[in-house]
Every structure is written in C-alpha cells, then in structure tokens.
C-alpha cells in the first residue's frame, strides 16, 4: 500500500513537471443544452489548431498547448461562470476560446474574464450588444455581429427596389437584435417599415400575425427567424395572398425550409454568413484528414479563434493573458504575411523571428471595431427549390 502510494505520488509529480511546459487554453462551449449538437465539432475545430501548433514544435520555444474543455450550457449563466472560474483558478488557463451563445458569453466576460484579466475569443456570439460593451481589450469574436447582417440585408432589399416592407422576427434576443439592426439600416437608407411584428416559434396558426402585417401593407415581407416559425409565417403569408416577395435572414437557411414551404419560397432572397475561398477549402481538407466535421456550423470560426490565441501568445513571446490580449489584433489584421489554415507553423516562425503576420484562417479573419469579424455573407435566391448564389458581400 505504501509503495503504491509513493509510486502514484511520484507519477503525479512527474506529470506535474511535464505540464510545466504546457500552456493551457480553455475551450468553453455548451456541450450540454440547446446547441449540444454542434459544440463537439466546434471544440474539435479549435483543437485542430492546437494540434497543428503542437506538431510544429515551434510554439514559444517548444512548449505545447493543452486544451481544457468546460461546459457553458449555452443558457445557464451561473453554470457557465462557474465553469470559467474553475478553468481559470484551478486549471490555470491563460485564455479562453469561447463562450458560444451570446447570453452566457456576456455573463462570463463581465463577471469572470474581466476581473481575472483573461482574454476571450468567441466563435459564435453574434449579439450586437458586444460591439458597444467595454471589455478592456479582452473580448474578441471571429463571427460577425448580427447588426452587420441586418445592414447587408437592408441594402439587398433596397437594391431590389422594395422601399416599403413589413418586418417580422422571432421573439428572442437573436430575432429582436437582428430586426432592430435591419430597421435602423433600412430607415437610414430611406426605406419604410410598415409594421414590425414578433412571432413565436411552434405555434399552430400564424394567420393573426400575417393578418396584422397584411393590414399594414408593404411591397415585401422580411422574416428574421427560424425554419419553424418563420417558415410557417412565410407559407401562411403566401397562401393568404398577403405578400409575394420574401426576404429572409440566416436562421431560416436550410433544406428543411424549402421542404416546409414548397412553392411559396420560390424567388425568396436571403443572406447567410459564408466561408468561401482558399482558406475555407484548405480548412475543409485539413478537417477531413483529421476526421473533424468541418462543414458543421461555427467549426471554422472555432479553428480561427483558437489559432488567433496561440499566434497572439507567440507574438507576445510569452503565454500570459496580458500578452495574448495585447497581440490579437496585430496577428489578425494587416500588415503582414497572410496565413491560411495549415500554415500555422510558418506563422509561428515569422513571429518568432520578429516579423508580422495577417492571419486569414478559414473565414478570412479581419477584426474590425472593438475586435469582431467583419463577416462575409452569401446572398442567395431560391430558384426551382434550390439556393442559388447571387453574390458575396
């Protein structure tokens, strides 16, 4: 017994020593809860970047990165804060890749990360509220704010010659934030919103909501919601003859929408954040090689967020929270050599030599404003039951 105890102590000690060269980065995502189906792929995406860096052996003179996963739950702020506190105080992470949903991300940022001085890069918090939140340079995101999509969609509607539209949105933070952003931009462009009505998800009958929008009139209907409620609104509006032309946001995109709405959706125009180009292609090839589902939502953004944290540490020359926070914008934006997925080793080399890089990643990362992705959107039109790309914004 005594021997066993000593042996295990020795083992623990040696393990502890081996870890001394380790840099720990937290991966705080909702592994349980409403988005549990996509978070494992997001975490895999982030860890793909860490593995790539570890394999290069060039990170801060041969140190390795260990990922510390914890559950943000997506909806329970107190659970997310507890998880973040634990990874900072007992695991000793120097930065956090996360969190995911806007609500818990804001709670973790304001109540945990800011007091501990730990930088965060969220791959998926899209609420416009982050743009105006003062984070002392600790918060960044690789996904664009919904406000940006609102402005782009407003521009598309205007460009097509619809200056009076009826607006409906799903009744939650996403829908309301998106609708406000759309309304603001659309009015600024000289358009008129005839009526703005929230709709609930999972109702049986939407004729009352559609009736109100129809009573207000308008040339087209803008629906910012999900397949379920938004799709029903679209079909009901078409069947009641209230509107002929529809514009939709990213939450509606999917094959289920076309199956659920049939001929009603024909000619509908919409936007969705999209990754295209060399960076995305390379990422998908790498992901396939690593057995990661690269096509899943926000997996690319997760890879980019994780890579940015590591590159920032390299640029600082030390894996400290303050050093990482100070260098994120430097490695993400111009000037410098462009770094795509799979080229992280080259990026580390350049930074070690004192050079500058412009990390492009899988999503053409460019951080604007207080440090959020500018975003890259696909404008599509539904033709013959297919999403057809019109152009990219």
């Amino acid at each position: 017994m005594k021997k066993l105890l000593m042996a295990s102590t020795a083992l623990a000690l040696s393990a502890g020593m081996a870890l001394a060269d380790d840099v720990k980065i937290g991966v705080l995502l909702g592994f349980t809860g409403p988005i549990e189906s996509i978070t494992p792929h997001m975490a895999d995406g982030a860890e793909m970047a860490f593995n790539e860096i570890n394999e290069s052996g060039l990170f801060l003179g041969g140190q390795t990165i260990t990922s510390v996963r914890a559950d943000s739950t997506c909806v329970d702020s107190s659970a997310a804060q507890a998880a973040a506190e634990r990874m900072i105080s007992s695991d000793g992470v120097v930065a956090i890749m996360g969190a995911d949903c806007s609500g818990v991300t804001m709670a973790v940022l304001q109540n945990v990360a800011m007091s501990a001085g730990i930088p965060m890069i969220s791959p998926s918090a899209t609420s416009p509220a982050f743009t105006t939140t003062e984070s002392n340079g600790l918060f960044y995101r690789t996904s664009p704010s919904d406000a940006r999509q609102g402005a782009i969609l407003a521009g598309i509607v205007m460009e097509r010659g619809f200056s009076e539209v009826a607006l409906t949105y799903t009744n939650n933070d996403y829908g309301a934030g998106f609708a406000n952003a759309f309304e603001e931009s659309f009015i600024a462009m000289g358009g008129t919103i005839t009526s703005k009505v929230a709709h609930e998800e999972a109702r049986g009958d939407y004729s009352a909501e559609v009736g109100q929008l129809a009573a207000a009139g308008g040339d087209a209907m803008v629906i910012l919601g999900y397949v379920d409620g938004g799709g029903s609104m679209l079909r009901t509006a078409y069947e009641l003859g209230a509107f002929e032309q529809f514009f939709i946001g990213d939450g509606m995109f999917g094959d289920e929408l076309i199956a659920a709405t049939g001929e009603a959706i024909e000619g509908t125009i919409g936007t969705i954040p999209w990754a295209a180009g060399e960076g995305a292609d390379r990422f998908h090839a790498l992901a396939e090689e690593a057995g990661v589902q690269g096509q899943s939502s926000y997996t690319r953004e997760s890879y980019d967020a994780a890579a940015l944290l590591a590159l920032a540490a390299q640029a600082a020359g030390e894996a400290t929270p303050a050093g990482i926070a100070a260098n994120i914008l430097n490695v993400a934006n111009e000037p410098g050599e462009e770094i795509l997925p799979g080229e992280l080793a080259r990026g580390l080399e350049i930074l070690a030599a004192g050079g500058e890089i412009n990390f492009m990643g899988a999503t053409n990362v460019t951080l604007v404003g207080p440090g959020e992705a500018a975003g890259f959107y696909r404008e599509y039109v539904v033709e013959g039951g297919e999403y057809v790309t019109v152009q990219f914004h």
Binding site: A198, G204, D205, A208, G211, A215, E239, L240, G241
Partner: protein, 336 residues
C-alpha cells in the same frame, strides 16, 4: 365595390380561420361538457388525449399511404379516422378502468377526479411524445386548396383576394354533421336519453334501472369520437404538434364554461365566441376600415385592440369574466 372588398379581406384573414378554429374548439368543448355532466369532473387530459388520438390517425394515415390507398382530392387521414377512434375508445376505457373507476367506487370528490385526470394527462402526453416526438408532423395530403387567393382574384377581378383551404372546408362541414348527429343521439335514442337522465339525477336514473357502467362506456366512446375528430381536423388545418394540443385545453374549457358546463349547445356557441373573440380582438382592422370609410378619413393606426401575442390573454379574460359575473354560463350550465 368597396364594402365587398372589405368583406373579402375580413373573410380571408379572420372569418374563415375563426370559423374553422371555432369548429375545432366546439368538437373538443362538447367532449369536455359531456364528461363534466355525466362523469362529473373537469377532464384535464382532454388536450393530450386529443393529441394521442391524432397520433393514432397519423399512424393509420401512414399505413394507408404505404398501401397506396388514397381518396384524392380528400386527405387520406379522413379514412384513417376510424382507426384512431378504435384506439382512443380502448385507451379511454382502459384509463377509466385503471384510474377513474376506483374513484367512482369510493365516491371521491370532483377535485380528486381532476387531479387523477391531470395524472392521466401527463402519462398520455408522454406516450404521444414517445411515438411522435415533440416536433411538427404534417399529414395533410390531397388537394390543399378549394380555391387560392390568386384564383379568386382572377375569377372575380376584385382587388382583394380570399383563399379557402380544403382542411378548413372539411372542418366546418364535419363539425356541422357531428353536431347534428350528436343532438339526434342525445334527444332521440334510448342510450342518449339514459345519458341525459343519468346526468340530470344520478339516483333517480339508477332507480329507474339505468346501468351506470353502460352510461360511462357510452360517454367515453362518444368522447373518443369527438376527440379524434377535433384533433384530426385541427392537425389537418394547422399541423400536428403535441404541445399545441395541450395549449388547446384553455380555449376548450373557456368555451365549455362560457356556454354553460353540461350544455352541449352552450359548448358550441361558447367555442365560436371564444374563436371569434381571440381573432377579432387581435385583428388589425385598418385594411377593412380603409375600404369602408369615406376618402380622406382612412384610419392611420392599425385599429388593433390588442397585439397578436395576447391571443391567449383574451381567452383568459373571457374565462375570468364569465366565472365572476355569470358562473352558469350563457345557457345556464352547472357551476364548477
């Protein structure tokens, strides 16, 4: 032609949906009122048994479709209704034997029955979700429209259009037929008369040789038929989703209480009042009035009494007002 345009617009967005919705509620409220007057308790499991019955019909529909059976242009689900009715009669009788019979024997208070039916509700609810999941299932097939907005406009040349979906027309017609048959059954047949006698005075009915268990079985059977019809029509019209059926409980009870619990005619009137109130109060009347008012006096506001989100609040308000000021309902029913 302006008043005609106003009427068409009103029909399209309010009158037709309210008529269909009211018919669905009426069939449900009739079941509630029957159980209340004969078995003497408020059947809280009504919405969820309706969901289970509809689930059985959907199962039957899928089976028939797989066999290649079709009654196009009518939905196949109509053929599957008997399957659903058989399943639900067996289910409700089993629930009666396992749960309610004991409470009848010990002459439990009505509140105990209500709680027992709440238990049945949770179990039924779980069974439905086990088979159907929580998402939406659409089982409507056949021809979707009698006429669409575009066809109507092209045909009449009016500015406003109006659509009539097959499911809405089937709902309204079926509800009418069922109501007529039910009244004939209650007033003209021996079984119906024994039910009414049992409802009026239990002891007197027992003395005159009416078998109470037989009355109970007939009541559940009729309830099952009404439930399956109401549920299937609602599902054809609005899609099947278990939670929406649970939510129907409130308007159905409001309808039964408003009409007067125990009064079948009251349940029907109550159902249409609730449906028209829900949709009428949350309807934006601007378009209708813009046709009716003389030029220059068109309304600029939406002319909407309450936002659409408050649909359920309307039902609640009706329920509270009735219970406060006229607890017996319009047709002098029983008081809870």
């Amino acid at each position: 032609m302006e008043p005609l345009n106003a009427l068409i617009s009103l029909s399209n967005f309010m009158l037709i949906p309210a008529l269909a919705y009211g018919s669905q509620l009426a069939l449900g409220a009739l079941g509630i009122t029957l159980i209340f007057s004969i078995l003497r308790f408020a059947h809280f499991a009504h919405g969820d048994t309706m969901a289970l019955g509809t689930a059985a019909v959907i199962g039957g529909t899928l089976f028939l479709q797989a066999q290649g059976v079709s009654i196009d242009p009518l939905p196949t689900a109509l053929l599957a209704i008997p399957i659903g009715i058989v399943v639900m009669v067996l289910y409700l009788l089993a629930a009666d034997r396992l749960v309610y019979k004991y409470f009848r024997k010990v002459k439990a208070k009505p509140l105990t029955f209500v709680m027992a039916s709440l238990g049945v509700m949770f179990v039924t609810n779980g069974i439905t979700r086990l088979f159907m999941g929580v998402g939406e299932t659409r089982f409507e097939d056949g021809q979707r429209f009698l006429f669409t907005v575009r066809e109507f406009r092209d045909f009449t040349g009016m500015a406003e259009g109006m659509a009539l979906r097959s499911a809405q027309a089937i709902t309204i017609i079926t509800a009418l037929i069922v109501m007529v048959v039910l009244f004939w059954f209650l007033n003209r047949t021996r079984a119906g008369k024994s039910m009414r006698a049992y409802s009026d005075n239990e002891d007197l009915a027992l003395l005159s040789g009416i078998n109470p268990e037989r009355v109970v079985v007939i009541t559940w059977t009729i309830t099952a038929i009404l439930l399956v019809l109401a549920g299937t029509l609602y599902g054809l019209d609005k899609g099947f989703r278990p939670f929406n059926y649970f939510q129907l409980l409130l308007p159905m009870f409001a309808a039964a209480i408003l009409g007067g619990l125990g009064s079948p005619i009251g349940a029907i009137v109550g159902a249409y009042v609730v449906a028209f109130a829900e949709l009428g109060i949350t309807y934006a009347w601007r378009r209708v009035f813009s046709y009716l008012m003389p030029e220059g006096l068109e309304p600029t506001s939406m002319m909407q009494l309450l936002p659409v989100d408050y649909k359920f609040a309307v039902t609640f308000a009706i329920l509270v007002i009735v219970l406060l000021f006229r607890p017996t309902g319009i047709f002098k029913g029983k008081v809870i």
